[in-house]
């Protein structure tokens, strides 16, 4: 629910409650005021009647005068006035229908010419009630109009007021820590939005500086590590040149040398992973997958021949705009993976189409959970030359390109497929 809807709804409920209460109060107060006025009129009529009787003026009466009975004679003291609302059956003219109508009635007892009189005067309440209803209904209409007006005004104003908010929200959504520029926010005169903008600006600046610090740190760390490794390697290589090393020494040197090589490879690979993760390969160009695959096949020719693997390929000329270094790494890793885990006299089939890149190879049954396949340092083999990072790199490259990577295994045929189509559908994920 949007904020504006929420507040509008609250306003609506509050208005309804207030209207109901005020309508009740209005009816109550108006009735009292009107009754007072009517009572005054009735008293005046009673006084006129009393005066007419006193001076024997002729009277126009609605009912025939009757004798008062004993009880009535003495029940009420002189000058008693009683007001009440009463229903009286009335014949509506021309329609022949008898209908009850509400009347305000005054009953007074007075002694005139030494006689006791009961004077009854009444006035219809129908018009008063109509009047009250008219007032209530028109105030209801006014309130409805007011609410509609307020709602329109509210949505219009809020659209304008919230405009910078939504613009900034969008910019925030598109914000990437890799952006060199600080985030640009739309200015607003509203205090709250100003504060929000200020906080966002500070936060994103902090993020950007932290990110670049981290980047710098990993680059520096790798630099600092590569240099001693380079020294180690070069010193061993120099040592190997000397003529008086025996077999045992040479074997030990070899172990040190190989350990150093592994360390440096690991360092390089982790750095590559971090760089891919940080999306530092963002330059795009037109890449022919076909060419890259053919190139890698040539490079790995010896390895393929060694296991007597037969390669079948179906490569489309389709060109994809992406980062060439990443794709090269991807293809190289996929191919080396397909060779490494292959069996002798096995097969590799490579399919590249507009939507998919598929590598499938024969191989031993997978031990362990396929779920863990793409995790770092998860390795099937206990081979020393395997770092267990190849598939993690493949996964990472697919992730940054928003390609979908899937593994399936059927009948000892392992298939890794990369779908490019998810580029558009998964963008909101």
């Amino acid at each position: 629910m949007k904020l504006i809807e929420r507040t509008s709804r609250t306003y609506l409920w509050l208005s309804i409650v207030i209207f109901l209460i005020s309508a009740g109060m209005l009816i109550f107060v108006l009735t009292i005021v009107m009754n007072n006025r009517l009572d005054e009129q009735l008293r005046y009529s009673k006084d006129v009647i009393a005066k007419r009787i006193k001076y024997d003026y002729p009277l126009t009466l609605f009912d025939e005068p009757k004798e008062l009975n004993e009880a009535e004679q003495f029940k009420f003291p002189n000058d008693t006035i009683i007001y009440k609302d009463t229903l009286i059956l009335r014949n509506i003219e021309g329609e022949g229908i008898n209908e009850f109508e509400k009347y305000r009635q005054l009953t007074a007892y007075e002694t005139l010419h030494n006689n006791r009189y009961k004077i009854v005067a009444r006035n219809s309440l129908v018009r008063n009630q109509d009047f009250i209803w008219v007032i209530v209904v028109s105030s209801f209409i006014i309130i409805i109009l007011l609410l509609i007006g307020l709602w329109i005004l509210n949505t219009q104003i809020s659209k304008k007021l919230w405009h910078p908010f939504y613009t900034n929200l969008n910019r925030l959504k598109n914000f990437s820590v890799q952006d060199q520029e600080p985030i640009k926010l739309e200015k607003s005169n509203i205090e709250e939005f100003k504060e929000l903008n200020e906080s966002i600006r500070n936060l994103t600046q902090k993020l950007q500086s932290d990110f670049s610090n981290l980047k710098e740190f990993s680059e520096n760390a790798s630099h600092e590590m590569q240099t001693p490794l380079a020294i180690m390697q070069s010193k061993i290589e120099l040592l190997l040149q000397s003529d008086n090393i025996n077999k045992e020494q040479s074997e030990q040197l070899q172990s040190i040398y190989q350990a150093g090589k592994r360390l440096s490879k690991l360092n390089k690979t982790l750095l590559l992973l971090a760089k891919v993760e940080n999306q530092q390969f963002s330059t795009k160009e037109e890449v022919s997958f076909k060419e890259l695959i053919e190139k890698q096949l040539e490079n790995y020719e010896d390895f393929i021949l060694n296991k007597n693997i037969s390669v079948s390929k179906e490569l489309s000329d389709h060109i994809i705009s992406t980062n060439i270094i990443l794709v090269d790494t991807l293809v190289s890793n996929l191919l080396s993976n397909a060779i490494k885990h292959n069996i002798n006299n096995g097969t590799i089939s490579i399919t590249f189409s507009k939507n998919q890149l598929i590598f499938s190879n024969t191989g031993e049954q997978l031990r362990g959970d396929p779920e863990n396949l793409f995790n770092r340092f998860k390795k099937q083999s206990t081979r020393k030359d395997s770092l267990g990072l190849g598939l993690a790199i493949i996964k990472q490259i697919c992730d940054v390109n928003q390609w979908q990577l899937q593994y399936s295994c059927e009948d000892k045929l392992h298939t890794l497929s990369v779908s490019f189509t998810s580029t558009t559908t998964n963008q909101n994920d």
Binding site: E219, K235, F281, F303, N306, D385
Partner: protein
């Protein structure tokens, strides 16, 4: 050939210099930007091996200076940062090659030699080792004047051995030279053996000597001096 090596890590600098010194190279060393700047302005070098990250300045600035001074000087950039930006920037500014730390000394030597060949077209075009003669421009190899057919890998292997003659070359260094440093397959060492066997056979067939020596499973040496 006069070579200037600019590298702030003294240990690494010494290794590089002592490996290259055995060739026909005169090596001079510089350990700082200031030092290197001074040498570049005062002397003329055929090749400069340049570390990009120096404590008191950027190797990129030195590269600019070299190109202003003498555009014939070949520049080989050495960097611990395997970042493409640096690489492209360096090559754009006129560097001839780029090598990433850590590297094999034999690989460095091979790159320097290849750089010299590319720089001096007017000089000696052939690389000779006794009866073996390699023509890098046409990639043709002759033994006793008779041509032999080599595969691409065998040719690269032979060239690598000849440029690093009399040196022990580790299997790792050969594998990286032949397949690039992405390769992480133990099998590659067997292939080196196979390629080498084939190479040896082809050379022997035309009356060439066997110059390849094995060093305790550690590596190989291409030499005409007997153990």
């Amino acid at each position: 050939m006069k070579i200037l090596i600019v590298e702030d890590e003294v240990e690494l600098l010494d290794s590089m210099a002592s490996y290259l010194k055995n060739e026909d190279f005169i090596c001079e060393k510089a350990t700082s930007f200031f030092d290197a700047e001074d040498k570049i302005v005062s002397f003329k070098y055929d090749i400069i091996i340049l570390d990009i990250t120096l404590p008191d300045g950027s190797g990129i600035d030195l590269l600019k200076l070299v190109k202003e001074q003498n555009s014939k000087t070949g520049v080989l950039i050495v960097s611990a940062k395997n970042s493409l930006d640096d690489k492209l920037k360096g090559l754009d500014l006129g560097a001839d090659d780029y090598i990433t730390k850590p590297f094999h000394l034999a690989e460095l030597n091979s790159r320097v030699n290849s750089l010299i060949r590319r720089r001096n077209f007017d000089g000696d075009e052939f690389i000779e080792f006794n009866e073996i003669r390699v023509d890098p421009s046409s990639k043709e190899v002759t033994v006793h004047g008779k041509p032999i057919e080599l595969t691409k890998k065998e040719y690269n292997l032979l060239l690598y051995f000849i440029t690093n003659k009399n040196k022990v070359l580790t299997k790792e260094s050969i594998a990286e030279h032949l397949w690039g440093d992405d390769i992480e397959m133990a099998d590659s060492y067997d292939f080196i053996y196979t390629h080498m066997g084939n190479l040896r056979k082809k050379i022997n067939k035309l009356g060439g000597n066997n110059y390849l020596q094995t060093m305790y499973g550690l590596g190989y040496k291409f030499t005409d001096t007997l153990k």
